[in-house]
Protein backbone atom coordinates (compact mmCIF):
# COMPACT_ATOMS: atom_id res chain seq x y z
CA UNK A 1 0.00 0.00 0.00
CA UNK A 2 3.01 2.27 -0.18
CA UNK A 3 2.06 3.37 -3.69
CA UNK A 4 0.10 6.33 -2.28
CA UNK A 5 2.46 9.19 -1.48
CA UNK A 6 2.08 10.95 1.85
CA UNK A 7 1.11 7.96 4.01
CA UNK A 8 2.84 7.64 7.37
CA UNK A 9 6.05 5.70 7.00
CA UNK A 10 5.87 2.22 8.57
CA UNK A 11 2.09 2.44 8.78
CA UNK A 12 1.80 -1.27 9.63
CA UNK A 13 4.18 -0.76 12.55
CA UNK A 14 2.22 2.29 13.73
CA UNK A 15 -1.01 0.27 13.61
CA UNK A 16 0.54 -2.26 16.01
CA UNK A 17 0.59 0.53 18.61
CA UNK A 18 -3.24 0.37 18.65
CA UNK A 19 -4.31 -2.99 20.11
CA UNK A 20 -7.99 -2.49 19.26
CA UNK A 21 -7.21 -2.53 15.55
CA UNK A 22 -6.66 -6.30 15.94
CA UNK A 23 -10.32 -6.76 16.89
CA UNK A 24 -12.39 -9.15 14.84
CA UNK A 25 -16.09 -9.90 14.93
CA UNK A 26 -18.17 -12.99 14.16
CA UNK A 27 -16.67 -15.18 11.43
CA UNK A 28 -13.33 -13.41 11.82
CA UNK A 29 -14.52 -10.19 10.15
CA UNK A 30 -11.81 -7.61 10.96
CA UNK A 31 -12.60 -4.19 12.38
CA UNK A 32 -12.36 -1.32 9.91
CA UNK A 33 -12.57 1.71 12.18
CA UNK A 34 -13.66 4.79 10.27
CA UNK A 35 -15.22 6.75 13.13
CA UNK A 36 -12.21 8.63 14.46
CA UNK A 37 -13.86 12.07 14.27
CA UNK A 38 -16.27 10.65 16.83
CA UNK A 39 -13.51 9.27 19.02
CA UNK A 40 -10.01 8.11 18.14
CA UNK A 41 -8.49 4.81 19.20
CA UNK A 42 -5.79 4.69 21.87
CA UNK A 43 -2.19 3.56 21.48
CA UNK A 44 -0.69 1.13 24.01
CA UNK A 45 1.53 3.88 25.45
CA UNK A 46 -1.55 5.84 26.58
CA UNK A 47 -3.16 2.77 28.13
CA UNK A 48 0.11 1.77 29.84
CA UNK A 49 0.83 5.27 31.12
CA UNK A 50 -2.59 5.47 32.74
CA UNK A 51 -2.31 1.99 34.26
CA UNK A 52 1.19 2.79 35.55
CA UNK A 53 -0.03 6.02 37.10
CA UNK A 54 -2.88 4.25 38.90
CA UNK A 55 -0.69 1.32 39.95
CA UNK A 56 2.29 3.30 41.19
CA UNK A 57 1.68 7.04 41.58
CA UNK A 58 -1.96 7.57 42.46
CA UNK A 59 -2.71 10.37 44.94
CA UNK A 60 -4.59 13.62 44.92
CA UNK A 61 -2.62 16.54 43.55
CA UNK A 62 -1.38 19.84 44.93
CA UNK A 63 -2.34 19.08 48.52
CA UNK A 64 -0.94 15.71 49.59
CA UNK A 65 2.32 16.18 51.52
CA UNK A 66 3.78 12.78 50.73
CA UNK A 67 5.78 10.99 48.05
CA UNK A 68 2.81 9.92 46.00
CA UNK A 69 1.22 13.34 46.22
CA UNK A 70 4.36 14.91 44.84
CA UNK A 71 4.60 12.32 42.05
CA UNK A 72 0.96 12.71 41.06
CA UNK A 73 1.24 16.51 41.07
CA UNK A 74 4.35 16.33 38.95
CA UNK A 75 2.70 13.96 36.47
CA UNK A 76 -0.37 16.21 36.19
CA UNK A 77 1.65 19.37 35.73
CA UNK A 78 3.95 17.63 33.25
CA UNK A 79 0.85 16.87 31.21
CA UNK A 80 0.09 20.59 31.19
CA UNK A 81 3.58 21.26 29.84
CA UNK A 82 3.02 18.68 27.10
CA UNK A 83 -0.28 20.32 26.10
CA UNK A 84 1.39 23.73 26.07
CA UNK A 85 4.13 22.36 23.84
CA UNK A 86 1.61 20.63 21.55
CA UNK A 87 -0.28 23.89 20.99
CA UNK A 88 2.78 26.10 20.96
CA UNK A 89 1.16 28.02 23.80
CA UNK A 90 3.08 31.19 24.65
CA UNK A 91 2.66 30.45 28.39
CA UNK A 92 2.04 27.06 30.04
CA UNK A 93 -0.24 28.60 32.68
CA UNK A 94 -2.65 29.49 29.89
CA UNK A 95 -3.55 25.79 29.59
CA UNK A 96 -6.65 24.87 31.58
CA UNK A 97 -7.84 21.31 31.99
CA UNK A 98 -11.57 20.74 31.58
CA UNK A 99 -13.54 17.54 31.18
CA UNK A 100 -14.05 17.98 27.42
CA UNK A 101 -14.27 20.62 24.69
CA UNK A 102 -17.91 21.32 25.53
CA UNK A 103 -16.97 22.29 29.06
CA UNK A 104 -14.14 24.45 27.75
CA UNK A 105 -16.52 26.33 25.43
CA UNK A 106 -19.14 26.62 28.17
CA UNK A 107 -16.51 28.01 30.52
CA UNK A 108 -15.86 30.90 28.15
CA UNK A 109 -19.53 31.47 27.22
CA UNK A 110 -20.62 31.51 30.86
CA UNK A 111 -17.90 33.64 32.39
CA UNK A 112 -18.29 36.20 29.59
CA UNK A 113 -21.87 36.72 30.77
CA UNK A 114 -21.09 37.14 34.44
CA UNK A 115 -18.86 40.08 35.28
CA UNK A 116 -15.68 41.89 34.47
CA UNK A 117 -14.41 44.10 31.66
CA UNK A 118 -15.25 41.50 28.97
CA UNK A 119 -18.87 41.16 30.04
CA UNK A 120 -21.37 40.70 27.22
CA UNK A 121 -24.62 42.65 27.50
CA UNK A 122 -27.62 43.97 25.65
CA UNK A 123 -26.83 45.39 22.22
CA UNK A 124 -23.70 43.28 21.88
CA UNK A 125 -23.41 40.69 19.12
CA UNK A 126 -22.00 37.18 19.14
CA UNK A 127 -21.04 35.68 15.78
CA UNK A 128 -20.86 31.93 15.11
CA UNK A 129 -21.22 29.84 11.93
CA UNK A 130 -23.78 27.48 10.50
CA UNK A 131 -21.26 24.61 10.45
CA UNK A 132 -20.66 24.50 14.20
CA UNK A 133 -21.02 21.42 16.35
CA UNK A 134 -23.93 21.85 18.77
CA UNK A 135 -21.39 22.43 21.54
CA UNK A 136 -20.31 25.65 19.83
CA UNK A 137 -23.90 26.78 19.16
CA UNK A 138 -25.92 26.07 22.29
CA UNK A 139 -23.58 27.77 24.84
CA UNK A 140 -23.75 30.96 22.76
CA UNK A 141 -27.53 30.71 22.43
CA UNK A 142 -27.69 30.40 26.22
CA UNK A 143 -25.35 33.38 26.59
CA UNK A 144 -27.42 35.61 24.32
CA UNK A 145 -30.68 34.52 25.97
CA UNK A 146 -29.29 35.43 29.37
CA UNK A 147 -27.68 38.71 28.43
CA UNK A 148 -29.98 40.12 25.76
CA UNK A 149 -27.11 40.08 23.26
CA UNK A 150 -27.82 39.07 19.65
CA UNK A 151 -26.62 35.86 18.03
CA UNK A 152 -25.57 36.11 14.38
CA UNK A 153 -23.86 33.60 12.12
CA UNK A 154 -21.93 33.01 8.94
CA UNK A 155 -23.83 31.00 6.33
CA UNK A 156 -22.24 28.35 4.13
CA UNK A 157 -21.62 28.16 0.40
CA UNK A 158 -23.06 25.31 -1.64
CA UNK A 159 -19.55 23.84 -1.65
CA UNK A 160 -19.60 23.63 2.14
CA UNK A 161 -17.24 26.50 2.84
CA UNK A 162 -17.79 29.51 5.07
CA UNK A 163 -19.61 32.25 3.17
CA UNK A 164 -17.34 35.16 4.02
CA UNK A 165 -19.08 37.59 1.63
CA UNK A 166 -21.01 39.02 4.61
CA UNK A 167 -18.01 39.31 6.91
CA UNK A 168 -17.93 43.11 7.04
CA UNK A 169 -21.59 43.23 8.03
CA UNK A 170 -21.35 40.36 10.51
CA UNK A 171 -18.21 41.50 12.29
CA UNK A 172 -18.76 45.10 13.33
CA UNK A 173 -18.25 47.46 16.27
CA UNK A 174 -21.02 45.69 18.23
CA UNK A 175 -19.37 42.27 17.90
CA UNK A 176 -18.05 41.02 21.22
CA UNK A 177 -17.27 37.40 20.37
CA UNK A 178 -16.56 35.45 17.19
CA UNK A 179 -16.69 31.71 17.86
CA UNK A 180 -16.03 29.19 15.12
CA UNK A 181 -14.68 25.77 14.42
CA UNK A 182 -11.27 25.36 12.85
CA UNK A 183 -12.26 22.14 11.05
CA UNK A 184 -15.90 21.09 10.54
CA UNK A 185 -16.82 17.74 12.06
CA UNK A 186 -19.45 17.20 9.35
CA UNK A 187 -18.20 18.88 6.16
CA UNK A 188 -14.50 18.56 6.86
CA UNK A 189 -14.04 22.20 5.83
CA UNK A 190 -10.92 23.93 7.15
CA UNK A 191 -11.83 27.51 8.06
CA UNK A 192 -9.59 30.57 7.56
CA UNK A 193 -9.03 31.10 11.27
CA UNK A 194 -6.25 33.67 10.93
CA UNK A 195 -8.22 35.81 8.49
CA UNK A 196 -11.38 35.78 10.64
CA UNK A 197 -9.35 36.49 13.77
CA UNK A 198 -7.79 39.55 12.13
CA UNK A 199 -11.23 40.92 11.22
CA UNK A 200 -12.54 40.22 14.71
CA UNK A 201 -9.56 41.75 16.46
CA UNK A 202 -9.85 44.86 14.31
CA UNK A 203 -13.20 45.57 16.01
CA UNK A 204 -12.02 44.46 19.44
CA UNK A 205 -13.93 41.15 19.51
CA UNK A 206 -12.74 38.04 21.31
CA UNK A 207 -12.05 35.00 19.08
CA UNK A 208 -12.97 31.53 20.33
CA UNK A 209 -11.86 28.57 18.23
CA UNK A 210 -13.26 25.05 18.55
CA UNK A 211 -10.24 22.94 17.64
CA UNK A 212 -11.81 19.56 18.46
CA UNK A 213 -11.33 18.31 14.90
CA UNK A 214 -8.24 20.44 14.16
CA UNK A 215 -6.06 19.35 17.09
CA UNK A 216 -5.96 15.69 15.96
CA UNK A 217 -4.84 16.47 12.43
CA UNK A 218 -3.37 19.95 11.98
CA UNK A 219 -0.04 21.16 13.34
CA UNK A 220 -0.89 24.03 15.72
CA UNK A 221 1.64 26.64 16.78
CA UNK A 222 -0.06 29.50 18.60
CA UNK A 223 3.17 31.31 19.43
CA UNK A 224 4.13 31.35 15.77
CA UNK A 225 0.92 33.15 14.80
CA UNK A 226 0.95 36.95 14.78
CA UNK A 227 -0.89 38.67 17.64
CA UNK A 228 -3.84 39.65 15.48
CA UNK A 229 -4.15 36.22 13.81
CA UNK A 230 -3.94 34.23 17.02
CA UNK A 231 -7.29 33.24 18.57
CA UNK A 232 -7.97 34.37 22.13
CA UNK A 233 -9.37 31.03 23.25
CA UNK A 234 -8.99 27.55 21.79
CA UNK A 235 -10.72 24.36 22.93
CA UNK A 236 -10.15 20.72 22.15
CA UNK A 237 -10.91 17.34 23.66
CA UNK A 238 -8.51 14.58 24.64
CA UNK A 239 -10.32 11.56 23.29
CA UNK A 240 -10.07 12.65 19.65
CA UNK A 241 -6.29 13.07 19.97
CA UNK A 242 -5.68 9.41 20.93
CA UNK A 243 -6.11 10.31 24.60
CA UNK A 244 -8.76 9.20 27.09
CA UNK A 245 -12.28 10.57 27.54
CA UNK A 246 -13.00 12.85 30.49
CA UNK A 247 -10.27 15.37 29.72
CA UNK A 248 -10.38 18.48 27.56
CA UNK A 249 -8.36 21.63 27.21
CA UNK A 250 -9.07 25.31 27.13
CA UNK A 251 -6.18 27.48 26.10
CA UNK A 252 -6.69 31.21 26.58
CA UNK A 253 -4.57 34.34 26.50
CA UNK A 254 -3.32 35.12 29.99
CA UNK A 255 -4.60 38.72 29.95
CA UNK A 256 -8.12 37.57 29.11
CA UNK A 257 -8.18 34.60 31.49
CA UNK A 258 -7.14 36.99 34.26
CA UNK A 259 -10.02 39.33 33.44
CA UNK A 260 -12.69 36.62 33.43
CA UNK A 261 -14.41 35.71 36.70
CA UNK A 262 -13.99 32.13 37.99
CA UNK A 263 -16.23 29.46 36.41
CA UNK A 264 -16.82 26.76 39.06
CA UNK A 265 -16.13 27.45 42.71
CA UNK A 266 -14.54 24.93 45.03
CA UNK A 267 -11.26 23.54 46.22
CA UNK A 268 -8.04 24.31 44.39
CA UNK A 269 -9.35 27.46 42.71
CA UNK A 270 -9.01 29.71 45.77
CA UNK A 271 -6.31 31.85 47.27
CA UNK A 272 -8.05 32.27 50.60
CA UNK A 273 -11.58 31.70 51.83
CA UNK A 274 -13.26 33.66 54.60
CA UNK A 275 -16.94 33.47 55.45
CA UNK A 276 -17.37 37.00 54.12
CA UNK A 277 -15.80 36.22 50.76
CA UNK A 278 -12.92 34.61 48.92
CA UNK A 279 -10.02 35.50 46.71
CA UNK A 280 -8.94 33.31 43.86
CA UNK A 281 -5.89 31.43 42.76
CA UNK A 282 -3.86 32.54 39.77
CA UNK A 283 -4.46 30.87 36.40
CA UNK A 284 -4.66 28.03 35.52
CA UNK A 285 -5.90 26.89 38.95
CA UNK A 286 -8.52 29.64 39.12
CA UNK A 287 -10.48 27.66 36.53
CA UNK A 288 -9.81 24.17 37.90
CA UNK A 289 -12.13 23.78 40.88
CA UNK A 290 -12.20 20.44 42.67
CA UNK A 291 -10.10 17.35 42.10
CA UNK A 292 -9.41 17.32 38.36
CA UNK A 293 -9.35 14.26 36.09
CA UNK A 294 -5.78 13.43 37.07
CA UNK A 295 -5.08 10.12 35.37
CA UNK A 296 -6.95 11.37 32.30
CA UNK A 297 -4.66 14.40 32.13
CA UNK A 298 -1.65 12.12 32.47
CA UNK A 299 -3.06 9.96 29.68
CA UNK A 300 -3.59 13.01 27.50
CA UNK A 301 0.03 14.01 28.06
CA UNK A 302 1.12 10.56 26.84
CA UNK A 303 -1.23 10.85 23.85
CA UNK A 304 0.04 14.24 22.71
CA UNK A 305 3.64 13.10 23.20
CA UNK A 306 2.84 10.12 20.99
CA UNK A 307 1.38 12.39 18.27
CA UNK A 308 4.35 14.72 18.49
CA UNK A 309 6.70 11.75 18.22
CA UNK A 310 5.02 10.72 14.95
CA UNK A 311 5.00 14.39 13.98
CA UNK A 312 1.88 16.44 13.35
CA UNK A 313 3.17 17.39 9.89
CA UNK A 314 3.45 13.71 9.00
CA UNK A 315 0.00 12.97 10.47
CA UNK A 316 -1.48 15.85 8.48
CA UNK A 317 0.12 14.57 5.26
CA UNK A 318 -1.24 11.08 6.01
CA UNK A 319 -4.75 12.43 6.60
CA UNK A 320 -4.65 14.36 3.34
CA UNK A 321 -3.42 11.33 1.40
CA UNK A 322 -6.09 9.05 2.88
CA UNK A 323 -8.78 11.70 2.45
CA UNK A 324 -7.91 12.20 -1.22
CA UNK A 325 -8.02 8.43 -1.73
CA UNK A 326 -11.36 8.20 0.10
CA UNK A 327 -12.92 11.09 -1.84
CA UNK A 328 -12.00 9.30 -5.06
CA UNK A 329 -13.25 5.92 -3.86
CA UNK A 330 -16.53 7.26 -2.50
CA UNK A 331 -17.27 9.12 -5.73
CA UNK A 332 -16.98 5.85 -7.63
CA UNK A 333 -20.10 4.57 -5.81
CA UNK A 334 -23.14 5.43 -7.88
CA UNK A 335 -25.82 7.46 -6.15
CA UNK A 336 -23.36 8.73 -3.57
CA UNK A 337 -23.13 12.48 -2.90
CA UNK A 338 -20.40 13.98 -0.76
CA UNK A 339 -21.17 17.05 1.34
CA UNK A 340 -18.35 19.53 1.79
CA UNK A 341 -15.22 20.38 -0.19
CA UNK A 342 -14.04 17.80 -2.71
CA UNK A 343 -10.42 18.93 -2.58
CA UNK A 344 -8.50 17.01 0.09
CA UNK A 345 -6.10 19.93 0.54
CA UNK A 346 -8.97 22.12 1.75
CA UNK A 347 -10.52 19.74 4.23
CA UNK A 348 -10.06 17.43 7.17
CA UNK A 349 -10.57 13.69 7.36
CA UNK A 350 -14.29 13.60 8.15
CA UNK A 351 -16.34 12.94 5.00
CA UNK A 352 -20.14 13.01 5.22
CA UNK A 353 -22.18 11.65 2.37
CA UNK A 354 -25.60 10.57 1.24
CA UNK A 355 -26.35 7.34 -0.58
CA UNK A 356 -29.43 7.80 -2.71
CA UNK A 357 -32.22 5.41 -1.70
CA UNK A 358 -30.73 4.21 1.58
CA UNK A 359 -31.10 6.00 4.88
CA UNK A 360 -27.80 6.69 6.73
CA UNK A 361 -28.77 4.44 9.67
CA UNK A 362 -29.32 1.59 7.27
CA UNK A 363 -26.02 2.32 5.55
CA UNK A 364 -24.21 2.25 8.89
CA UNK A 365 -25.96 -0.97 9.91
CA UNK A 366 -25.18 -2.82 6.69
CA UNK A 367 -21.52 -1.74 6.53
CA UNK A 368 -21.19 -2.69 10.21
CA UNK A 369 -22.15 -6.24 9.25
CA UNK A 370 -18.87 -6.19 7.31
CA UNK A 371 -16.89 -4.81 10.24
CA UNK A 372 -16.85 -1.22 8.95
CA UNK A 373 -17.58 1.32 11.70
CA UNK A 374 -18.93 4.67 10.47
CA UNK A 375 -21.29 7.20 12.04
CA UNK A 376 -24.83 7.90 10.90
CA UNK A 377 -27.04 10.74 12.02
CA UNK A 378 -26.70 14.49 12.33
CA UNK A 379 -23.24 14.34 13.96
CA UNK A 380 -24.35 17.03 16.44
CA UNK A 381 -24.50 19.48 13.54
CA UNK A 382 -28.20 19.74 12.77
CA UNK A 383 -28.06 23.29 11.35
CA UNK A 384 -25.31 22.28 8.91
CA UNK A 385 -27.46 19.35 7.75
CA UNK A 386 -30.50 21.60 7.43
CA UNK A 387 -28.41 23.97 5.29
CA UNK A 388 -27.96 21.17 2.77
CA UNK A 389 -31.58 20.10 3.02
CA UNK A 390 -30.86 16.75 4.64
CA UNK A 391 -31.91 15.30 7.96
CA UNK A 392 -28.87 13.12 8.46
CA UNK A 393 -25.85 11.69 6.71
CA UNK A 394 -23.33 8.89 6.88
CA UNK A 395 -19.85 9.95 7.91
CA UNK A 396 -16.54 8.18 7.52
CA UNK A 397 -13.59 9.63 9.37
CA UNK A 398 -10.03 8.43 9.06
CA UNK A 399 -7.00 8.96 11.24
CA UNK A 400 -3.29 8.34 11.41
CA UNK A 401 -3.80 4.55 11.52
CA UNK A 402 -6.18 4.36 8.54
CA UNK A 403 -4.98 2.40 5.52
CA UNK A 404 -6.05 2.64 1.86
CA UNK A 405 -7.21 -0.99 2.18
CA UNK A 406 -9.70 0.13 4.83
CA UNK A 407 -11.08 2.75 2.45
CA UNK A 408 -11.42 -0.03 -0.15
CA UNK A 409 -13.33 -2.09 2.42
CA UNK A 410 -15.73 0.83 3.00
CA UNK A 411 -16.31 1.31 -0.72
CA UNK A 412 -16.98 -2.43 -1.16
CA UNK A 413 -19.34 -2.38 1.83
CA UNK A 414 -21.20 0.56 0.28
CA UNK A 415 -21.56 -1.35 -3.00
CA UNK A 416 -22.88 -4.28 -0.98
CA UNK A 417 -25.33 -1.92 0.75
CA UNK A 418 -26.65 -0.79 -2.61
CA UNK A 419 -27.19 -4.36 -3.74
CA UNK A 420 -28.72 -5.28 -0.39
CA UNK A 421 -31.28 -2.54 -0.82
CA UNK A 422 -31.74 -3.64 -4.44
CA UNK A 423 -30.64 -0.39 -6.03
CA UNK A 424 -29.88 -0.65 -9.71
Amino acid sequence: MSEIPGLLPELEVVRKDFPILERTFEDGVPLVYLDSANTSQKPQIVIDTMVDHLERHNANIARAMHHLGAEATEAFENARDVVAGFLGAPDRDEVIFTKNASEALNLVANTLAWSGPLRVGEGDEIVITEMEHHSNIVPWQLLTERTGATLRWFGLTDGGELDTSTVDDLINERTKVVALTWVSNMLGTVNPIAEIAQKAHAVGAVVVVDASQAAPQLPIDLAAMTEDERPDFLAFTGHKTVGPTGIGVLWGRRALLEQLPPFLGGGEMIETVRMEGSTYAAIPHKFEAGTPPIVEAVGLGAALSYLSHLGMDAIHRHEQAITAYALEGLQSVSGLTIMGPLDAARRGGAISFELDGVHPHDVAQVVDSRGVAVRAGHHCAKPAHARFGVQSSTRMSSYLYTTPAEIDALVEALEYTRSYFKLA
Binding site: H359, D362, V366, H378, S392
Partner: protein, 155 residues
Protein backbone atom coordinates in the same frame (compact mmCIF):
# COMPACT_ATOMS: atom_id res chain seq x y z
CA UNK B 1 -23.00 -9.11 13.00
CA UNK B 2 -23.17 -11.67 10.25
CA UNK B 3 -25.06 -11.48 6.96
CA UNK B 4 -27.58 -13.87 8.53
CA UNK B 5 -28.43 -11.58 11.45
CA UNK B 6 -28.50 -8.67 9.01
CA UNK B 7 -31.25 -10.52 7.18
CA UNK B 8 -33.10 -11.07 10.45
CA UNK B 9 -33.09 -7.27 10.90
CA UNK B 10 -34.02 -6.39 7.35
CA UNK B 11 -36.85 -8.83 6.62
CA UNK B 12 -38.29 -8.60 3.11
CA UNK B 13 -41.56 -7.36 4.65
CA UNK B 14 -39.73 -4.43 6.21
CA UNK B 15 -37.98 -3.52 2.98
CA UNK B 16 -41.31 -3.76 1.13
CA UNK B 17 -43.05 -1.41 3.54
CA UNK B 18 -40.04 0.93 3.36
CA UNK B 19 -40.23 1.13 -0.43
CA UNK B 20 -44.04 1.32 -0.58
CA UNK B 21 -45.32 2.75 2.68
CA UNK B 22 -49.05 2.39 3.40
CA UNK B 23 -51.31 5.29 4.43
CA UNK B 24 -48.47 7.80 4.17
CA UNK B 25 -49.23 11.54 4.04
CA UNK B 26 -51.11 13.88 6.36
CA UNK B 27 -54.89 13.87 6.01
CA UNK B 28 -57.95 15.65 7.37
CA UNK B 29 -59.97 15.32 9.48
CA UNK B 30 -58.05 14.66 12.68
CA UNK B 31 -58.44 15.41 16.37
CA UNK B 32 -54.81 15.38 17.42
CA UNK B 33 -51.47 15.87 15.71
CA UNK B 34 -48.16 15.08 17.38
CA UNK B 35 -44.54 15.46 16.42
CA UNK B 36 -42.07 12.94 17.83
CA UNK B 37 -38.29 12.88 17.41
CA UNK B 38 -35.47 10.47 18.20
CA UNK B 39 -32.91 13.07 19.29
CA UNK B 40 -29.75 10.96 18.86
CA UNK B 41 -30.50 10.01 15.25
CA UNK B 42 -32.83 12.83 14.21
CA UNK B 43 -35.67 10.61 12.96
CA UNK B 44 -38.93 12.55 13.00
CA UNK B 45 -42.59 11.76 12.59
CA UNK B 46 -45.65 14.00 12.43
CA UNK B 47 -48.73 11.88 13.03
CA UNK B 48 -52.47 12.57 13.08
CA UNK B 49 -55.23 10.50 14.61
CA UNK B 50 -58.88 10.59 13.68
CA UNK B 51 -61.27 8.70 15.96
CA UNK B 52 -65.01 8.18 15.48
CA UNK B 53 -67.80 6.64 17.50
CA UNK B 54 -69.01 3.31 16.14
CA UNK B 55 -71.40 0.57 17.25
CA UNK B 56 -68.59 -1.27 19.10
CA UNK B 57 -67.17 1.84 20.73
CA UNK B 58 -64.58 4.42 19.68
CA UNK B 59 -62.94 3.44 16.43
CA UNK B 60 -59.61 4.40 14.82
CA UNK B 61 -60.95 5.99 11.67
CA UNK B 62 -57.64 7.16 10.25
CA UNK B 63 -53.95 7.47 11.10
CA UNK B 64 -51.96 9.66 8.75
CA UNK B 65 -48.32 10.61 9.00
CA UNK B 66 -45.32 12.25 7.49
CA UNK B 67 -41.96 10.90 8.55
CA UNK B 68 -38.26 11.05 7.84
CA UNK B 69 -35.97 8.30 8.99
CA UNK B 70 -34.45 4.92 8.36
CA UNK B 71 -36.09 1.87 6.78
CA UNK B 72 -37.00 0.45 10.19
CA UNK B 73 -38.79 3.60 11.38
CA UNK B 74 -40.56 4.13 8.04
CA UNK B 75 -41.70 0.51 7.71
CA UNK B 76 -42.90 0.42 11.27
CA UNK B 77 -45.12 3.49 10.71
CA UNK B 78 -46.59 1.78 7.65
CA UNK B 79 -47.27 -1.46 9.55
CA UNK B 80 -48.77 0.49 12.45
CA UNK B 81 -51.38 2.11 10.22
CA UNK B 82 -52.27 -1.25 8.64
CA UNK B 83 -52.80 -2.74 12.09
CA UNK B 84 -54.79 -0.03 13.84
CA UNK B 85 -56.94 1.68 11.20
CA UNK B 86 -60.47 0.32 11.40
CA UNK B 87 -59.97 -1.26 14.85
CA UNK B 88 -61.61 -0.10 18.04
CA UNK B 89 -59.30 1.98 20.21
CA UNK B 90 -59.37 -0.79 22.78
CA UNK B 91 -58.21 -3.42 20.29
CA UNK B 92 -55.66 -1.06 18.77
CA UNK B 93 -54.16 -0.34 22.20
CA UNK B 94 -53.92 -4.09 22.83
CA UNK B 95 -52.00 -4.48 19.55
CA UNK B 96 -49.77 -1.59 20.62
CA UNK B 97 -49.06 -3.38 23.89
CA UNK B 98 -48.23 -6.59 22.03
CA UNK B 99 -45.83 -4.77 19.68
CA UNK B 100 -44.18 -2.98 22.60
CA UNK B 101 -43.65 -6.29 24.40
CA UNK B 102 -42.10 -7.77 21.27
CA UNK B 103 -39.76 -4.82 20.77
CA UNK B 104 -38.65 -4.72 24.38
CA UNK B 105 -38.17 -8.49 24.55
CA UNK B 106 -34.51 -8.45 23.42
CA UNK B 107 -35.36 -11.11 20.83
CA UNK B 108 -36.73 -13.58 23.41
CA UNK B 109 -40.43 -12.93 22.70
CA UNK B 110 -42.22 -15.14 20.15
CA UNK B 111 -44.52 -12.85 18.15
CA UNK B 112 -48.17 -13.75 17.56
CA UNK B 113 -48.85 -13.44 13.85
CA UNK B 114 -52.62 -13.38 14.38
CA UNK B 115 -52.27 -10.15 16.32
CA UNK B 116 -49.25 -8.47 14.74
CA UNK B 117 -49.52 -9.65 11.09
CA UNK B 118 -46.63 -7.92 9.20
CA UNK B 119 -45.47 -6.60 12.58
CA UNK B 120 -43.84 -9.97 13.30
CA UNK B 121 -41.13 -8.96 10.83
CA UNK B 122 -39.79 -6.65 13.54
CA UNK B 123 -38.93 -9.56 15.86
CA UNK B 124 -35.34 -9.38 14.55
CA UNK B 125 -35.10 -5.67 15.30
CA UNK B 126 -35.58 -6.43 19.00
CA UNK B 127 -32.10 -7.99 18.97
CA UNK B 128 -30.55 -4.64 18.00
CA UNK B 129 -30.97 -2.32 21.01
CA UNK B 130 -29.86 0.71 18.96
CA UNK B 131 -32.70 0.16 16.48
CA UNK B 132 -35.59 -0.55 18.86
CA UNK B 133 -36.27 3.18 19.24
CA UNK B 134 -36.49 3.43 15.43
CA UNK B 135 -39.24 0.81 15.34
CA UNK B 136 -41.12 2.38 18.23
CA UNK B 137 -41.06 6.03 17.10
CA UNK B 138 -44.38 6.09 15.23
CA UNK B 139 -46.02 3.70 17.70
CA UNK B 140 -45.26 6.04 20.58
CA UNK B 141 -46.48 8.98 18.52
CA UNK B 142 -49.73 7.16 17.77
CA UNK B 143 -50.31 6.34 21.43
CA UNK B 144 -49.64 9.95 22.39
CA UNK B 145 -52.02 11.33 19.73
CA UNK B 146 -54.71 8.82 20.68
CA UNK B 147 -54.40 9.68 24.36
CA UNK B 148 -54.66 13.39 23.53
CA UNK B 149 -57.78 12.78 21.44
CA UNK B 150 -59.43 10.71 24.17
CA UNK B 151 -58.57 13.35 26.78
CA UNK B 152 -60.11 16.06 24.59
CA UNK B 153 -63.30 14.07 24.17
CA UNK B 154 -63.55 13.37 27.88
CA UNK B 155 -63.60 17.11 28.57
Amino acid sequence: MTAESLDSLYQEIILDHYKNPHHKGLRDPYEAEVHHVNPPCGDEVTLRVHLAEGPEGTRVEDVSYDAVGCSISQASASVLTDLVIGKTVEDALAIHEEFLTLMQGKGAVEPDEDVLEDGIAFAGVAKFPARVKCALLSWMAWKDATAQTLAKEAR
